[in-house]
């Protein structure tokens, strides 16, 4: 039986084509069938968008779902619900689970769980090195053939230059993507805050912001010699963004993302040791934050990823240095990204492109566009609705968000995966 859903009365927004006008979208059997001003369709279920925005569902290229291993913090199910509530239709999990995703069976496990849960599509990266130990390469070719969308050691950098060069070089055999946590590990060792006045006042062990650009510049040299595809995760400093801007000008196959906290917060969010503001890399200076905004505006930063990192109370109710790093970000990514638009810093279609089209392109996923023949993965959102972030409403198992209580503008109304509504705001 054919399933038809007609989304009417929508402001169609497509970052791929620049489309921004009133219209309708027809989904047939989970795929986008037609887009137009007025579509004729008899037996379709009608979803009236009420004049609100209809855009490609968000593609979140960096989340931690804690399954397998730490299901008490998050699971595919709870993470899937959080993603659905956040307008995310595809998310890519980091391999830093227990066990580490470095075997074919584990990549297949993620795919199976994603189908079973049946919410937001869950894809996974595989580890670049066995056990994330930074020494021996994983079976990158086979892992990719079984569904791994890229290779990364997750929260740690591939620090050894020899290993990184071989990983990049080997990846070119299969045209695979390497994602780096760009931080020189010796410079970052033991650090809890970016070096500067705040860290000095609080007496926290600090990390020089140079640790980020150093690793990126090293990697860029290796990318240049190997010709590999390289993606720098969560860039947070002006220097790193400049380095990537330069690499793009030299036409290297280099991309990068940032997370909402790097443009929505700066180091002052640490306050009196607020461990919810502890992230890796650490929150930076206001100058760096502005550089992140500028990098998003000019396209140097390709994507916005939530960097969703659930941490339970026990991991955060610790002295700052001992506390776990990370923010649960799936449910606040869209609205925080829309702050960039509402503040007049970044165009709406650029913001949406960073949330859907660009990550889909980087990962070569069939998503991120309103185009006939693609899966009907969609988000409907009210661009202007004001509300206050309340962690008590989160679907995630964890509540570690420094954005609790923040007044924001723009709210998800409905999330659709393969034509099927997986979330509707009450």
């Amino acid at each position: 039986m054919t399933t038809r859903t007609l989304f009417t009365n929508a402001r169609l927004l497509d970052p791929a084509t620049g489309l921004d006008k009133k219209g309708e979208l027809l989904s047939v059997d989970g795929m986008i069938a037609e887009i137009g001003e007025k579509l004729a369709c008899q037996d379709a279920e009608i979803v009236d968008c009420g004049g609100h925005c209809l855009a490609p569902g968000l593609v979140d290229m960096r989340v931690q779902l804690r399954e397998p291993g730490d299901e008490y913090q998050e699971s595919m199910e709870s993470g899937g619900q959080a993603a659905a509530a956040g307008g995310v239709t595809t998310m890519v999990a980091l391999p830093n689970t227990d066990p580490v995703i470095d075997e074919l069976a584990l990549v297949e496990f993620i795919a199976r769980r994603s189908r079973d849960v049946g919410l937001t599509r869950i894809r996974t990266y595989a580890a670049a090195t066995k056990g994330l130990a930074g020494k021996n390469l994983t079976e990158m070719g086979l892992l990719a053939a079984h569904g791994a969308v890229g290779f990364t050691d997750g929260l740690v950098a591939v620090a050894d230059a020899v290993v990184m060069r071989r990983a990049l070089s080997y990846a070119t055999n299969f045209d695979l993507l390497l994602i780096q946590h760009p931080e020189e590990p010796r410079l970052a060792a033991g650090g809890a805050a970016t070096s500067g006045e705040i860290a000095t006042r609080l007496g926290l062990p600090s990390i020089t912001p140079v640790a980020e650009v150093m690793m990126i510049e090293r990697d860029l040299r290796l990318v240049e010699t190997t010709g590999a595809r390289y993606h720098a995760a969560h860039v947070s400093t002006a220097a790193a963004i400049d380095a990537i801007r330069g690499a793009k000008a030299r036409h290297l196959a280099v991309t990068c993302d940032t997370a909402p906290h790097y443009f929505a917060l700066n180091e002052t969010a640490l306050g009196d040791y607020r461990t919810f503001a502890k992230v890796s890399p650490p929150l930076r200076s206001e100058d760096d934050r502005r550089a992140v905004v500028a990098g998003l505006a000019d396209g140097t930063i390709d994507a916005i990823a939530s960097d969703h990192a659930p941490q339970d109370q026990e991991s955060k109710r610790l002295p700052y240095t001992s506390a776990g790093a990370g923010i649960v970000g799936l449910e606040t990514m869209l609205t925080l990204a829309l702050e960039l638009y509402h503040a007049g810093h970044v165009k709406l279609l650029t913001v949406l492109g960073a949330l859907s089209r660009r990550p889909a392109e980087i990962l070569r996923l069939p998503a991120g566009k309103l185009e006939a023949g693609l899966p009907a993965d969609l988000v409907i959102f009210d661009l202007d609705r004001p509300w206050k972030i309340n962690v008590a409403d989160f679907h995630s198992k964890c509540r570690n968000s420094p954005f609790d209580g923040r007044p924001v503008q723009g709210a998800v109304l409905r999330t659709v995966v393969a034509g099927r509504t997986i979330y509707a705001a009450s």
Binding site: G196, A199, T200, G203, L204, T208, Y273, T321, A323
Partner: protein, 321 residues
């Protein structure tokens, strides 16, 4: 006594740091401390101001002088003082911290005196208990009673703090004593310098209101107070300085470098000293210049004033912070 007590206002529930104190708060504590200096020099040193109150000394980091100083201070005010040796769990120090705090809280102490190796740990603990908390040193953050006792020592010898030039020398980067002193001296109107090799200065230290020097003779020029910091010997492993010999040569306080300071400049050190590392033995023991022993004496007096300020209010009617 009654009128003195009435005039001694200290509008804070805890003493977590110097940051946040006003000049009046500090002056009130120092004035009160002077009363206790006299009391401590009497044969009968004990009074009953805090009789019936329970003070717990909770040191997650080894310390002899500070914990002893607090213990004496509490006992001389008539309080019951317990010093708890805390073994911090190697698995999860923080879990131990909160659990320990909750457990002790259930025993109804009136004041908890806490030292911990992590910055911010004492504040975290203060949020979980309903008694007064005194920070006896947290990581590289603050050590407020040390700064207060230093201020008391300076005030007694120089009869003022405002307008003096103070050079804080040595391992500023890892020093909570330096941070608390920088705060206090700035609040009280002194001019503060730091003198150290660049590897031992934290980023943006100038933003805390200090002039930065990397040469002892320049840094000590015409100062009224030379405050030396302890060089923790484990810093050697981190390549912060290449050797003790080189450190002493360039940054150790000896008579030659001291010549740059004012002739009546005082020499201070929070202890314990590394003789021959950050300070020459003869300089340290110079009875005309060094006030290091006096600092220890002032420590007890200042801690009595702090305990009085925070311990008098019964815990169950303590105002919310």
């Amino acid at each position: 006594m009654t009128s003195e007590l009435a005039s001694f206002a200290f509008p804070h529930r805890h003493l977590l740091g110097i940051e946040g104190l006003s000049p009046d708060d500090i002056t009130a504590l120092l004035d009160r401390s002077e009363v206790y200096i006299e009391q401590n020099r009497q044969a009968n040193k004990t009074q009953s101001l805090l009789r019936g109150r329970t003070i717990m000394n909770l040191f997650f980091e080894p310390s002899t002088r500070t914990s002893t100083s607090f213990e004496l201070a509490g006992k001389r005010l008539g309080a019951d003082v317990i010093t708890m040796p805390v073994q911090s769990s190697s698995v999860s120090k923080g879990e131990t911290l909160i659990d320990t705090a909750m457990t002790l809280n259930a025993m109804h102490p009136d004041v908890l005196i806490v030292r911990h190796s992590e910055s911010g740990a004492v504040q975290l603990l203060s949020e979980k208990v309903d008694c007064a908390v005194i920070n006896a040193g947290d990581g590289m953050h603050e050590h407020p009673t040390q700064a207060l006792l230093d201020a008391l020592t300076i005030r007694l010898r120089k009869s003022r703090i405002q307008g003096l030039t103070v050079a804080i020398c040595g391992d500023v980067a890892h020093s909570r004593v330096a941070r608390s002193n920088i705060q206090l001296l700035n609040i009280m109107g002194a001019r503060v310098r730091v003198v150290a090799p660049r590897t031992l200065l934290p980023a943006a230290i100038d933003r805390l209101g200090v002039e930065v020097f990397h040469d002892m003779k320049e840094g000590l020029k015409d100062v009224d107070i030379v405050m030396m910091l302890r060089l923790q010997l484990e810093r050697m492993q981190g390549s912060f300085v290449p050797s003790l010999r080189e450190y002493f040569h360039f940054f150790g306080l000896d008579y030659q470098k001291l010549e740059a300071a004012k002739p009546d400049a005082l020499i201070m050190h929070p202890g314990p000293m590394n003789r021959g590392v950050e300070i020459d033995t003869e300089v340290a023991d110079d009875i005309n210049r060094s006030v290091i022993q006096q600092q220890v004496e002032m420590g007890v007096a200042v801690r009595m004033a702090v305990l009085e300020a925070l311990g008098r209010t019964p815990r169950n009617i303590a105002p919310a912070r």
